[in-house]
């Protein structure tokens, strides 16, 4: 009898609908309004790579040890250096990082002994050409500059 009444009055459907209407309140909205509101990115987020420079003298922290290039599973880091005859140290000339093949696993930043290479919180990596995904030393040091839109 109860089962028949429940069937006639569609109790199961109204139970489900009550859940739907409970979440209609504006305070339950969880949608993010990107790009008007920037999302909060976690501190450890592995995004666009950056080659850190020493803030005191503006020189690169990279010691051209090639460990990141060895650690990379996709073999996408190329470090170019010359031996400085005076100091007998390696001087960094070029640094190429191909983000089109990168899977942001973070093995390169784990391998870096001087914290020069770092994956940052920047996540807007789109570009108009395939060449734009290949970061040279200048982009890596200055950081990517995504297009800013005004509303």
């Amino acid at each position: 009898m109860t089962k028949l009444l429940r069937t006639i009055f569609l109790v199961d459907l109204f139970q489900g609908l009550s859940v739907t209407f409970r979440t209609q309140h504006p305070k339950n909205i969880v949608t993010e309004q990107y790009p008007e509101h920037r999302p909060k990115i976690a501190e450890r987020y592995r995004g666009a790579p950056r080659l850190n420079i020493n803030p005191e003298n503006g020189q690169t922290l990279c010691i051209s040890c090639d460990l990141c290039a060895v650690a990379c599973p996709e073999n996408l880091i190329i470090v170019g250096w010359v031996r400085n005859p005076e100091t007998k140290r390696k001087d960094l000339v070029t640094f190429t990082y191909d983000t089109s093949r990168c899977m942001f696993c973070g093995l390169c930043e784990d391998a870096c002994p001087v914290d020069a290479l770092e994956l940052t919180q920047d996540f807007e990596l789109a570009s108009y050409s395939r060449e734009g995904a290949i970061f040279d030393r200048q982009i890596l040091e200055e950081g990517i500059k995504p297009t800013k839109y005004r509303f």
Binding site: G16, V19, A42, R44, P73, C105
Partner: protein, 369 residues
């Protein structure tokens, strides 16, 4: 050609690879007699990347991020299985602290995987609302992953021998908050679906696979447990300290789509139970065991299986003593479970086929590898 009272011929149709309810790029060749399915044949391989071959050309450390990309919905379970297999080769064990954190993250990932399954499965059948709710709760787990290891989906959270990252400030509190928040939400999904007559009509008695068939096909995970066999690797062959935690293996008897739904819902509640116990007792200590910088396991072989959200996930590694595996074989649960599609779909309607594909919980990245 099936015997029908009208003189009809068998119709062969392609379902997929672009069909939205095949959850990726699965192509099912369906033999139809009117609305009845006479047989199905799966064509897979659209997402084949040769992951096992890539494993032979990378060092053990380098290959770890690739395993995340097989079952990308449950990347952490994949990472755990791979790390345990290499650790078995090396004969090291992760520290107690690393093990506890691994359990917390793996169970959170199981919840995330089941939530995505529930949302898409309900969407296939016609209930759109649960998808939004499931995504909303899944976001909490993904945020925890993002804060912990810096990535949301393909996490690369574990390293061979332990963990790379220490937990962030407030990790335990956040996980416990999620547990408190999540249990009422599971009741909410059940309120929407379990009693709903359309849901019941579409699921009960559809795609029945009994225990003997499950074992014959090698089906594992929630599909096997819905058929009445309490086989769970976490209980049967405990790894990563699962024997310390008190939890039940939910089983059902009928082995139909509805029972598989009920088993997965119960599993989410059990996962919360495990997370609560694990997060309350994370021991202090180092997170990385003593592992050489260059991983060079001795000659030998190792097979380790873990209970992934979809079933038994196994890694078989054959080492020849160099820094790269000689052969690496993955036993993916989705691939094996997908074999049973033909058995389940025979004699059902086309509309039920969508429900049956959804209930297997396949991820095509893992099927094709």
């Amino acid at each position: 050609m099936a015997g029908t009272f009208l003189d009809s011929t068998e119709l062969v149709l392609n379902m997929g690879p672009q069909h939205p309810s095949t959850h990726g790029v699965l192509r099912v060749i369906v033999k139809l007699d009117g609305e009845r399915v006479n047989g199905t044949e799966c064509v897979i391989g659209y997402l084949h990347r040769g992951v096992e071959k890539i494993g032979e050309n990378r060092t053990y450390t380098m290959f770890a991020p690739y395993v995340d990309r097989m079952d990308y919905v449950a990347a952490i379970s994949n990472g755990l299985g791979y790390c345990l297999a290499v650790e078995k080769l090396l004969n090291v064990e992760a520290t107690p602290r690393a093990q506890a954190i691994r359990v917390v993250l793996t169970e959170l990932n199981r919840i995330a995987s089941h939530l995505l399954w529930l949302g898409t499965h309900a969407l296939d059948i016609g209930a759109i609302t649960p998808l939004f709710y499931c995504m909303r709760e899944r976001e909490y787990t993904l945020n925890i992953f993002e804060k912990y290891c810096g990535a949301r989906l393909t996490t690369h959270a574990f390293r061979i021998g332990g963990l790379q990252y220490e937990t962030y400030d407030g990790f335990e509190k956040e996980v416990e908050e999620f547990c408190d928040l999540f249990l009422p939400k599971v009741d909410e999904y059940e309120e929407l679906l379990t009693g709903n007559r359309i849901w019941r009509e579409r699921l009960i008695g559809v795609g029945i696979l009994n225990e003997a068939d499950c074992k014959a096909y090698g089906v594992t995970g929630p599909m096997l447990r819905a058929a009445g066999c309490a086989w769970d690797i976490r209980k049967a062959l405990p790894y990563s300290g699962y024997e310390k935690y008190d939890f039940e293996v939910p089983i059902r008897q009928n082995g139909d789509t509805y029972d598989r739904y009920m088993v997965r819902m119960a599993e989410m509640r059990q996962s919360v139970r495990i997370i609560r116990q694990a997060v309350a007792a994370i021991p202090e200590g180092p997170i990385m065991a003593k592992v050489p910088k260059i991983i060079k396991p001795p000659v030998g072989e190792a097979y380790v299986s873990v209970e992934a959200p979809k079933g038994e996930l196994g890694y078989y590694i054959l080492s020849d003593g160099t820094t790269q595996p000689y052969r690496l074989r993955v036993r993916p649960p989705s691939f094996v479970n997908l074999q049973s599609l033909d058995k389940m779909a025979k004699g059902s309607l086309v509309a039920d086929l969508v429900a049956i594909i959804g209930t297997i919980d396949i991820v095509l990245g893992e099927v094709d590898r």
